[in-house]
Symmetry: C2
Subunit: 327 residues, 2 copies
DNA sequence: CTGAAAGCGCTAACAA
DNA sequence: TTGTTAGCGCTTTCAG
């Protein structure tokens, strides 16, 4: 219980050395004798000294934090199971590098500019597919920046293997003998979903099955309407979904329509959302390593920070088919 | 496009004044003439000057960020829809006060101590029910701290109206003519859930119905087993759930058991989890204003920061019954 | 009303 | 090997 805050000066006084010596000792400067280093470190520990991050940062020219920026399009990122896990991955990797996570949800357009110009972070992790490429490119000229789960020319990014993952999902249904396949999504306006649709179409074409119908719908009700109509005319036997949320909706819709899953129709999702233990049915899905998506983003950013001149770098994280109860 | 970083000095030079004057002008010091203030502000804007957060913080003795600490017990907070929304509320309120959100998931026991001793944040928001009271009380002596969704003697906190909310839920089922009620939870080891159970029991007793059975289970399978057994012996006609996750599981279990909801059995959840639009059934629930939970936490913390001597303050956020399809 | 100067707590040259 | 000192970029007394 020392009175007031214990600063580097307290330690210096206690050790009978100059504050510079304390600094060097604590930072492992090789030019300090083993003896004093040990003594200073011991003393610092005893006094409970921890360098004040702000002061250290000011002197060293860095902040020790990384800003994670997310834009809320439909719903805030926070409520998305997918992005939440990405965030967890980011957090874990930052922690390993002794970096802090500054969370910002972008509201006004200049939020990011402020963050950057006030130098609150050493780099920016932009999470989301809705990339304003031109803006971010300009920003990335002055602040290291990596896009996670989105991409654009001239920007470092980390994405999942969208097209290939969807190919695997589609082939999986074909291997189950399904031939009348449908692609279901909340929307095709989202780049990742569109890429997954491309994979779906590619495989159908390769298999000589032509092009499959698409069902779009954001809610259970929308999907119900669309599938109801489609079933009347087309009688699909397999549904490839753009993500798990839609996948679970589709399963419920099919049950409501009196269609048995997977006996009559197979369903495959995308994402590998956790939390399935609370549900009756475990969706067959294309699992994305979301934590890895985040962690990889951090690693790319770190490289970018260390070498700001390095050219943008793209990383693709592999996916894996995860069989469940719906195929 | 000015070369290099634009600092306060650049502005001072451009305006032909001292840096102190720039600082005062920009911070609205009344002792500066309207004329120079305007000129400096104009110039600062033109040059794109933004004070560097770190330097400003060092001089002012604060950081401008608030640490949000979460402990991951069963699953990381990030993947919980409930906490994610709380986090969104925190974020929004912090933004209104020009504060940054430093997100930390507690792994090692001294993570928080580090954060505090390195003075990375002006205050701490601890989110979660698993409060290590003694530790946090000690910490709160040196750093303003507020617990959200948990509480303990001697700590500032914000919680939802657990007992009362559950009373309302239980009365709701009674008003629907239900008399054979069950309480379902993932576990009763969690304080919030226990409080909700208390509300449930109180109302039953008041209604002269004695005490109701309790069903515990973390997964669909567990709940299925427990409810299956219970239905054989007891034939409940209403289930009060400790939260929505359990509520949705219960609904699926009942459907699987061939019990109709709400015709045969009514189910009510707790939390008011968003994202129901992707589901067939909308659960009747006790809605907690999760954003408000977070925002209130920020406000209490701010008071604590401004007046560190103020005694701990407890805030209770009201709940509201939200009728759905399951009652 | 404005300028000068002393820090905020630390790091990193540069001396000694 | 250690001590001294000049900043890091800003705020804030205290003179002028």
């Amino acid at each position: 219980m020392s009175s007031g805050r214990v600063s580097i000066r307290s330690v210096a006084k206690a050790a009978g050395v100059a504050i510079g010596t304390v600094s060097k000792s604590l930072n492992g400067d090789p030019e300090i004798s083993e003896a004093t280093r040990a003594r200073v470190q011991q003393l610092a520990r005893e006094l409970g000294y921890h360098p004040m991050a702000q002061a250290r940062g000011l002197a060293r020219g860095r902040t020790g934090n990384v800003a994670v920026a997310v834009r809320s399009v439909f719903q805030p990122i926070f409520t998305s199971a997918f992005y939440s896990e990405v965030l967890a991955g980011v957090e874990a990797e930052l922690e390993r590098h002794d970096l802090n996570l500054l969370l910002t949800s972008l509201k006004r357009g200049d939020d990011l500019l402020h963050l950057a110009s006030e130098r609150r972070a050493d780099g920016i992790l932009y999470i989301g597919y809705d990339v304003e490429a031109a803006f971010l490119r300009e920003l990335s000229a002055s602040t290291p920046l990596v896009v996670i789960d989105g991409e654009a020319e001239g920007l470092s990014s980390v994405v999942s293997q969208n097209v290939e993952g969807s190919r695997v999902a589609t082939r999986h249904l074909l291997s189950k003998g399904r031939r009348r396949l449908v692609f279901a999504a909340m929307t095709l306006a989202q780049p990742n979903f569109r890429a997954r649709h491309v994979g779906f179409e590619e495989v159908l074409r390769e298999a000589g099955l032509g092009s499959g119908p698409v069902v779009e719908g954001r809610s259970f009700a929308d999907l119900y309407g669309a599938l109801h109509a489609l079933f009347a005319s087309y009688r699909p036997d397999g549904v490839v979904c753009a993500n798990d949320a839609v996948g679970y909706s589709v399963v419920q819709v099919l049950e409501t329509l009196g269609v048995r899953v997977p006996e009559d129709v197979s369903v495959v999702g995308y994402d590998g959302t956790t939390g399935a233990e609370h549900r009756k049915t475990r969706l067959t899905t294309v699992a994305v390593d979301k934590q890895e998506l985040g962690a990889a983003g951090v690693r790319v950013l770190l490289r970018q920070i260390q070498n700001p001149e390095a050219p943008p770098q793209q990383v693709v994280v592999p996916t894996q088919l995860e069989p469940g109860d719906t195929s």
